[in-house]
Symmetry: C2
Subunit: 469 residues, 2 copies
């Protein structure tokens, strides 16, 4: 690719070493190879950086960014690299800024229910630490045991508690950010409401690293409801399954999550985990509803109410499941990877009343593109994970081309229903061109103008979300 960027010269390397210390600047081949991809399995997308730096402080991050501006070298920020949109792949080479050393929970104030985290904190660690104090960190991507808070914020990660608590952006009080020109700024505040200036923390959350590097995050914690049930509602008719969430929400049951697994997903994951679950062999699909309360009587009442609703709406059986149901749900991606490491994780999102309309089109698309697909969904959010698996062993290039064609057909259908192409994975590099195609010229112009204003040299995660100009 022809660009305005400069290579990482010995002079740049020397300056980086000066900034963060020799041992935190790596250029050995093993390291560069390790950073050629994130969770992406298709080698078509792989690209090695020229150098990986491991800053230990916000000030060091700021120094790196200033250097990158001076030398016009691209930067790719990275936390755990568990993203699936090629957001952490250094497509223009340059510098990968790996934040894993900044992995401390700086504050966990149980009395006032908040935590201050560095970006490299494992999401699961924060969840567990909060739980010790009877508190909940409500951000809960399925990858919580491998992903990190900084990446969650940059991507506005969703996950399994979004029905009740929202996505990562809804957990944020404030962010400390190194801007694309290397300034350190704190935006937002530990406040329940605010009308003092522009809401920059929400602009930066979900901006996929193109507006700066997040170096500290103040997060809301919540009281942890002590009572919970997981109810599996079993369906033979998916249209009925897809209609259930809205009924649950309207009834005021306030579920923590409503998940869906289709027949193929259930069978594949049960086989992978060597697990047996009711009705799976019969070819049924599941709607899994989790409800949490602060009172046992309330829990019982809601369980009864939910079972009634499910039965009235076409469920053929309901059973209470233990925590293993979440192992099944969360291990789904691993089961897919076990069949095909290049599997494509779609995560489009539609209004709840449009789930049936979009999923009804999937058989046609599967046939047209000769794809084997399994489907799970955060169905309470309208967020559908269709996973085409490359189970016929196409080459990386051929698979890339096939998925490209599939996307060009799928996404306009999603947008026509008022949906968007990503509910929680982000656009990254992988869906960037489709994003430009599906988004209005006026909106793209607003996005580009912010990028230009904040990052005149376009060094910050270039080529993600929008193309380099």
């Amino acid at each position: 690719m022809q660009t305005h960027f400069n290579p990482v010269t010995p002079e740049v390397l020397a300056a980086l070493r000066q900034a963060v210390g020799d041992k935190y600047v790596k250029t050995d081949e093993d390291c560069l190879t390790a950073y050629q991809t994130d969770e992406e399995g298709n080698s078509h997308f792989f690209q090695k950086p020229e150098v990986v730096v491991f800053p230990g402080t916000t000030e060091e991050v700021a120094q790196i960014v200033k250097l990158a501006n001076t030398y016009v070298v691209p930067i790719t920020p990275r936390a755990a690299g568990t993203g699936v949109a090629c957001g952490a792949i250094p497509i223009y080479k340059g510098i990968v800024v790996e934040l894993e050393r900044m992995n401390k929970i700086l504050t966990l104030d149980a009395e006032n229910m908040y935590a201050v985290c560095q970006p490299g904190v494992l999401t699961g660690d924060l969840q567990r630490e909060a739980k010790k104090y009877g508190l909940l960190y409500a951000g809960d991507p399925s990858s919580s045991d491998s992903c990190q808070i900084g990446g969650n914020v940059a991507n506005n990660a969703g996950g399994n508690k979004a029905v009740r608590y929202g996505t990562t952006r809804h957990q944020i009080y404030s962010l400390q950010v190194v801007t694309p020109t290397g300034e350190i700024v704190t935006v937002g505040g530990r406040l329940q409401k605010c009308s003092s200036g522009l809401c920059l923390e929400q602009l930066i959350a979900g901006s996929e690293g193109i507006l700066g590097i997040i170096t500290e995050i103040t997060l809301r914690l919540r009281p942890l409801p002590p009572y919970a049930f997981n109810m599996v509602c079993v369906f033979t008719d998916d249209t009925a399954a897809f209609a259930l969430p809205n009924k649950i929400l309207k009834a005021g049951i306030n579920p923590t999550s409503i998940e869906y697994m289709d027949r193929e997903a259930l069978q594949m994951t049960c086989k992978f985990l060597d697990m047996s679950m009711p009705h799976v062999q019969e070819g049924c699909s599941y709607v899994i509803v989790t409800v949490e309360t602060f009172d046992e009587a309330e829990l019982d009442r809601k369980m009864e109410q939910l079972c009634d609703l499910a039965e009235q709406n076409g469920s053929i059986d309901e059973f209470e499941a233990d925590k293993r149901i979440w192992t099944l749900r969360k291990q789904f991606a691993e089961a897919a990877r076990n069949i095909d490491k290049m599997y494509q994780a779609e995560d489009f999102v539609v209004p709840l009343d449009k789930i049936s309309a979009i999923t009804a089109q999937l058989p046609e698309l599967r046939e047209k593109y000769d794809l084997y697909c399994v489907t799970v969904a955060h169905i309470g959010d309208g967020n559908i994970h269709v996973l085409p698996l490359n189970n016929k062993g196409l080459s990386p290039e051929a698979w890339f081309e096939k998925i490209k064609e599939f996307h060009r057909d799928l996404f306009p259908r999603v947008y026509a229903l008022g949906g968007k192409m990503s509910g929680e994975h982000g656009i990254g590099y992988k869906k960037r061109d489709e994003f430009a195609r599906c988004t209005s010229a006026e909106e793209l112009q607003l996005i580009r103008s912010i990028k230009r204003a904040w990052d005149p040299k376009q060094i910050m995660n270039p080529g993600k979300l929008i193309a380099v100009e």
Copy 2:
């Protein structure tokens, strides 16, 4: 003021008439005088526009904005004009764009729990319309019977249900906006989660008209809980009163609101309404807790739990109040206005654990600036309304100067505690200079660069939130 703006010439007027029709372009003195202020009562801030236009469609708004760009004439967008930060005062004269004709609820989809509104819809009308279908529109400024949705969004209005449901920004699915260059753009979507591009709807919400004119708003509705109580907890010790919200929140009671009225506020408002309430004459303050549930048993349990908590934390009495308690709370501002139409409505916000620390400084400030103050607070949000009343009859200029001095002393104390100067009223023109003083240079730079990028001629609500460059 010397500016780069041009006056509204006969040529501009002719073009405006062409755009929206003769009868919707007004230049008569009565009309201009009516638009010289919003809710502001101090004539120091008054400024007449040169023309008021009343567009009926988004396309007409876009035409007006394009004209204003061509002729470099400032625009001040306005809904109901109930703001208290001089946000709708045309400080550079030019054109006021009054959106009151765009007052339709375009869609109210009860099945899917959302509404599409034009900006001039009265907030109370949307609340009442939703209620007919057993639904709740959760945005609830105290001025709901006079304010309009467009203004609520532009200001990120807060109000009385924010503890449970958040502020206006948390009710937004998507916005149709006319950008400062006159493009029509829709941002956001009717989606429960989204990671597809920058979160422009949250950037625009609360931007006080400096980033565009909001012409259509898609709002979330929620199931309306059928059971409710309002519990008044009576305090003689304010420190104990201020500590109660956090205990309630941690217990998982999930209140809809927690309000506070101090002794002066209670006495003033009871007198104004000719109302008698328990313990008011004894000089007590109130914490009013509203809880809503979908189940009667749950309501009873929470009431018991709340009374126990209140008693353990220094409440001297608790009593259940009927809806009149909300008349008392909401008529407080009218009672203040009755004493002094220039009353200054502070609305700073601090973390919940800092409420005592800031309110403890108020007696000193009151004495130092010889101010008579009454205080109410959305105490569950840390949002404090201290209202200095000009009960000594100072001139508009003298009162303006006094308040300026008071702000210069007060706001740095608020920020030192992690607070901000406005929780729900916005910065507008009134607090703009203090905002610049209290906000970091880096954050201001980010705000200004977005403004510059989107509004190169700075015609859109100039001088609000940030100064014209």
